[in-house]
Symmetry: C3
Subunit: 215 residues, 3 copies
């Protein structure tokens, strides 16, 4: 039997679901950037797996779970193949990339923070690792297709992840039931993310920050 990467079956299921959701979002980005089959698979894998890999590198938990456990690789590959062959069907749904991405974000901020807590890092570090796990894959995706990462520019993207990771860490410290807390935290992140998209809410830009060029 394979060891559960995150200690509990619930975390594993959330993590694999997040990998698939992010994998779809990455694969679709690859299709749009007109990459070939390999490129689409790599983008699916990068978005689905890189956040967790960065987290495990920072925790010193090497080799990373998402790399040594074949189920993550299989799920990411499946997501890539799905977008490669069925991207037209997927895109018929309402804002598919955004919704899958929000799902991945919500699941990874929870599982990332939960794994960090198992490694006994501080509360602030656990929250940050949740955010890094959730946003790392998407940032790498944007760098690879040569865009300034969306998460840095606009929209509430990191904030929902921050909320989800904070709920996870706080409930763990308060001794609440992890299953209920994880689902609540993921739901909170998901709702805030979709609401921010729907109502077009963003973070403030710098006061007077029209970015006067010149040193």
């Amino acid at each position: 039997m394979l060891p559960d990467a995150h200690g509990s079956p619930l975390m594993l299921v959330l993590d694999l679901t997040g990998t698939f959701a992010f994998g779809l979002s990455g694969g679709l980005a690859g299709v749009r950037a007109r990459l070939d089959l390999y490129g689409v698979l790599v983008l699916a894998a990068v978005v689905g797996l890189a956040g967790g890999i960065i987290r495990d590198i920072l925790l010193g938990a090497l080799p990373p779970a998402t790399f040594s456990d074949w189920r993550y690789l299989a799920v990411a590959a499946l997501a890539g193949l799905t977008t490669f062959f069925f991207h037209r069907t997927i895109e018929r749904f309402y804002r598919p990339v955004a919704v899958f991405d929000a799902a991945g974000l919500s699941l990874f901020c929870v599982t990332g923070a939960a794994k960090a807590l198992e490694f006994n890092v501080g509360a602030v570090q656990a929250v940050l690792l949740g955010v890094i796990t959730a946003t790392g894959g998407g940032m790498l995706r944007d760098v690879l297709v040569r865009e300034i990462p969306t998460v840095l520019r606009s929209e509430l993207y990191a904030v929902p992840a921050l909320i989800g990771a904070s709920i996870t860490v706080a409930s763990s410290r308060l001794g609440y039931d992890p299953t209920a807390a994880s689902l609540l935290a993921a739901a909170a992140c998901f709702i805030v993310r979709l609401a921010s998209l729907h109502f077009d809410i963003g973070l403030p830009t710098p006061p007077d920050g029209r970015g006067k060029p010149g040193e």
Copy 2:
């Protein structure tokens, strides 16, 4: 005496040759992007060393062999200096970047997979690490000079590496002679890569994937 990074003298020779070949390819890319001396050296080092560094980070084999063993650094620096001073001579040959790059690809997919096997990861992971070792440096090079990585877009680039790494892993599982298997695997990758360039063979792009924009 320095320890051999990959357990056998053959692997070390292949690895250093691959570092030099990739270093030339990186240095030439730096010359073309009009970088200065430091930039050319860094690009040579990135393409020559980064694949192996990423592999060793993922394996938890820290510090990375390509960093702690001075011979890798020396070979990468030598490749960078060679391209800096003699790029005009080098470019007189037929498609020099492509040929050096194919050589590096062929050698690294073999040594990357072989090193992964020594760390007792699964067969799929060993093949993947071979591909990552072979293609990681080139991807980073493209990101640094601000291009969408070629490997994601067109041509058979990862596929030859996949073939070479798979032959390496399969022969090891079947107990074949590692020296013969390594050379065969590298030759197979090299031939497929150059043939794909010559006949302009690529991977399929997504069906109907003209990349309709819009969410």
Copy 3:
């Protein structure tokens, strides 16, 4: 009491000061690229912390000191908030990004090399780790805002870091007083960096390297 990340209080002070200086430089770059609050904070953190994180990953010193020690995170966040709210005031000074960046460069090449020496790597590797610590954050910053890293293209940027790191390693080998040597090394780097900016000195580009395109 928290452990000192670099063994000595002097190193810690230099390291935190460097983090703040680089954080200001990163935050200002974020303001100019019109990122939002989160983007400005991330850029400040990336430039302030990433060099040290890359160094610690390469040394296998995980989790990285700059991540597990909350003071680094707090200082980087403070630098980000400072640039977000007060960027107009800061930019009134003469070339603020360049000066803060030079300060970060000077401090990190010293602390990076000093930490590497504690891990008993070779002298060349210690110098290189000093340069990587000093220049890694800025390279990542340029990649994120989609520019070819300045350090690769023009100006004396890595050379001053090389000088500072070399002085640090050489004095340590010669048994000189580390406090005096560190301050001297940082000052040398700082002066060379600012002088190169003032007199517009750069590294040579490749001979005839007008970058003839075409393979």
